[in-house]
Subunit: 399 residues, 2 copies
């Protein structure tokens, strides 16, 4: 006499899709499989012994406070430390511009809930971060993908004419997930210009910005248009993901809305974890560890590019990211990365099918590859296996 | 040239209300104020030195794993430990019936998002837990309050006739927040009978059940109707709130829906915190500490009842909870707890205005008082001040 759960679900719930990445994990985590699929940081970067020291100090000095409920906006010291790092980039903010979230997935989710009514238009990249597409889709957004930046203004104009003024432009300007690509200054200025002209909000998702291997940092969108940009940040790639800490940085009247939304979402993010992160930043260890992380990932990127050069058959191309955790591979037109996935799994190597990142169902000949997680032997061997799988795919011919 | 944020908000966001409790905290946390307002556990119950040991062990044995991303469903050992405790009550569940949430506020929020479309009816108590009312309201639920259990069937029938079959019955059967009242076996059987007759889901919110001072535990609703009950649990009152850990227990096909919803909400709750909680439970320390917590709170409840007996002027009544963290005070008809609040703050004592817990705007002459947080002197002095404030209110006369 079980209930038929589908009779009870909300329309939003019917729109919620399980992540193809998370669903793949059971296949991908089989022993022997070299996985380039996840977006995992390398555990070598986790500062375990420093962390233990920080935890001891926090428990000694403020155990009773940090094991209690905390304010919804988050730990003041942590917010101040985060604000400081943005001020160092010339962004004029204080802790009052910041709310701590249960990592950046919650920041994305709260953004979706605050702004999206069913059918509302949201502009995103083609491709774009899957977790954001999921959260927007769970609020029944109409996702409008932009292949090339210069399409932005025309797309916005057309939407407005149809009475569908976009709720926001969702962008990942630095070392984008999944493509690894970074927007240059002209592109940034253009996005801001369009946003100002049509009075649009910009959501700048910025999880990878600090993992930069070379060159100078580009100006943030939030620097160019602080009045209309909502910046999403996270400690998952620069410190560790297991504490689940991220933030939103925005004008105070927007942060006030996030505060109310977060109250009913989970009251507050773990005060204990926040206090440890604050101490870690205050101690200077954060910067030191970040430098080591960047070096490690630069090395891994270099190694992977080298292996790709050696192992990829003709016709395959890939991006050369200057930071972040991912690169994006494109097969010749007519080949399907989904078919490749099955061949690759037989060779014991995994990746994410690029199609998952395209809200318009295109991108069938693309795949995302992570280079941060795997050890060096894994990268070398995995790319070799991937090359073999692609050659097998070639043999089967185009569809 | 700031954006006008209200032009962009979703309808759900416009329905989000800030908690009057959280908003009061700035007044309430002034030095010198004795606050019975929060729902805070007593920090004396936080097992700081045991926690440090557990943390050390977790970092030693599984640091790289628990600082990484985790599965959305949560730590397997922790889910198994939770399942074990329900099995000890004769509830036939495994870890597969459980998903870990970012404390029970997230469990409530996910419930709201999974089931509530704008305008959907949800049945709750009069009074009922404010955080749940907030989360339901953020999904634009139509909250239908029940003053007395026996009204349930008629209310359900009327709603169904109007084409508004309730999405679920929200109940807090044990030591309810805010009233402190526990449903007896007849009441429980009746709720289950109605739910079965009309094919309704029951949401059993159970944060206080384990904080029982005396008597025998009542059978859980999930025991009586496992096929249609979604149970929400939390470590916030039995272990500590600062780790933000709770859970949902339900049939596996329902848990699957929570999994998808949680993926886009925050991917996973902190794996580090979960691993520490799992170890704490496995070690037997959880049970030991829970016993101490119960003793402490029983003492505080007794002390508060004693003080109320002594200090309350005639006409004031209150509940005598056999567990939990709260008791509920009722002023004579015609007196307003909101007016009392201002008088009380002048006397440096605070509580929560009961009206906040009534979805129908009634309950104006009620107040919620917490007895778990304050030290003994605070309870004695605070109740004295409260008595004084009520006598001042009496002098001002009924409205």
């Amino acid at each position: 006499m079980a209930v038929n759960i589908n009779d009870f679900l909300s329309r939003n719930a019917k729109n919620m899709k399980s992540s193809p990445i998370r669903d793949l994990l059971s296949v991908v985590n089989q022993p022997g499989v070299i996985s380039f699929a996840g977006g995992f940081p390398n555990p070598e970067t986790f500062p375990i012994s420093d962390l233990r020291k920080m935890i001891d100090e926090v428990l000694d000095e403020q155990g009773r406070k940090v094991l209690q409920y905390g304010g919804t906006d988050g730990n003041h010291e942590l917010r101040e430390e985060i604000a400081k790092r943005y001020r160092a980039q010339g962004i004029n903010v204080t802790k009052d511009n910041i709310i701590i979230t249960t990592a950046s997935q919650q920041a994305i989710d709260l953004t979706a809930r605050l702004f999206i009514d069913p059918g509302d238009a949201v502009i995103c990249g083609l491709p774009s971060y899957l977790g954001a597409l999921q959260a927007f889709s769970a609020c029944q957004a109409m996702m409008v993908g932009i292949k090339k930046d210069e399409e932005l203004e025309d797309t916005v104009k057309t939407l407005i004419e149809r009475g569908k003024k976009p709720k926001f432009i969702y962008a990942i300007p630095d070392f984008q997930n999944p493509s690894g690509v970074t927007m240059d200054m002209d592109q940034r200025k253009y996005v801001v210009e369009v946003a100002r002209k049509y009075d649009l909000i910009i959501v700048e998702d910025s999880p990878y910005r600090e993992i930069r291997f070379e060159g100078k940092a580009q100006t943030m969108l939030t620097s160019l248009a602080p009045e209309r940009t909502i910046l999403l940040g996270t400690f998952s790639k620069t410190f560790l993901p297991g504490f689940r800490l991220g933030w939103v940085l925005a004008p105070v009247e927007i942060i006030a809305k996030y505060n109310v939304a977060k109250q009913s979402a989970d009251l507050c993010s773990p005060p204990f974890n926040q206090a440890v992160a604050a101490k870690y930043m205050q101690s200077g260890l954060f910067e030191k560890n970040l430098k080591k992380t960047i070096e490690l990932y630069r090395h891994k990127r270099d190694l992977m590019l080298e292996c790709l050069e050696k192992e990829m058959p003709e016709g395959v191309s890939w991006t050369r990211p200057s930071g972040g955790l991912f690169l994006f591979i494109t097969l010749p037109e007519g080949y399907d990365a989904k078919e490749l996935f099955h061949l690759a799994i037989r060779e014991n190597v995994a990746f994410v099918i690029g199609e998952a990142f395209y809200c318009d169902g295109t991108g069938k000949n693309t795949l995302r590859v992570n280079f941060s997680f795997m050890d060096d032997e894994g990268i070398t061997e995995g790319v070799k296996r991937l090359g073999k799988a692609i050659r097998e795919l070639y043999k089967k011919g185009r569809k």
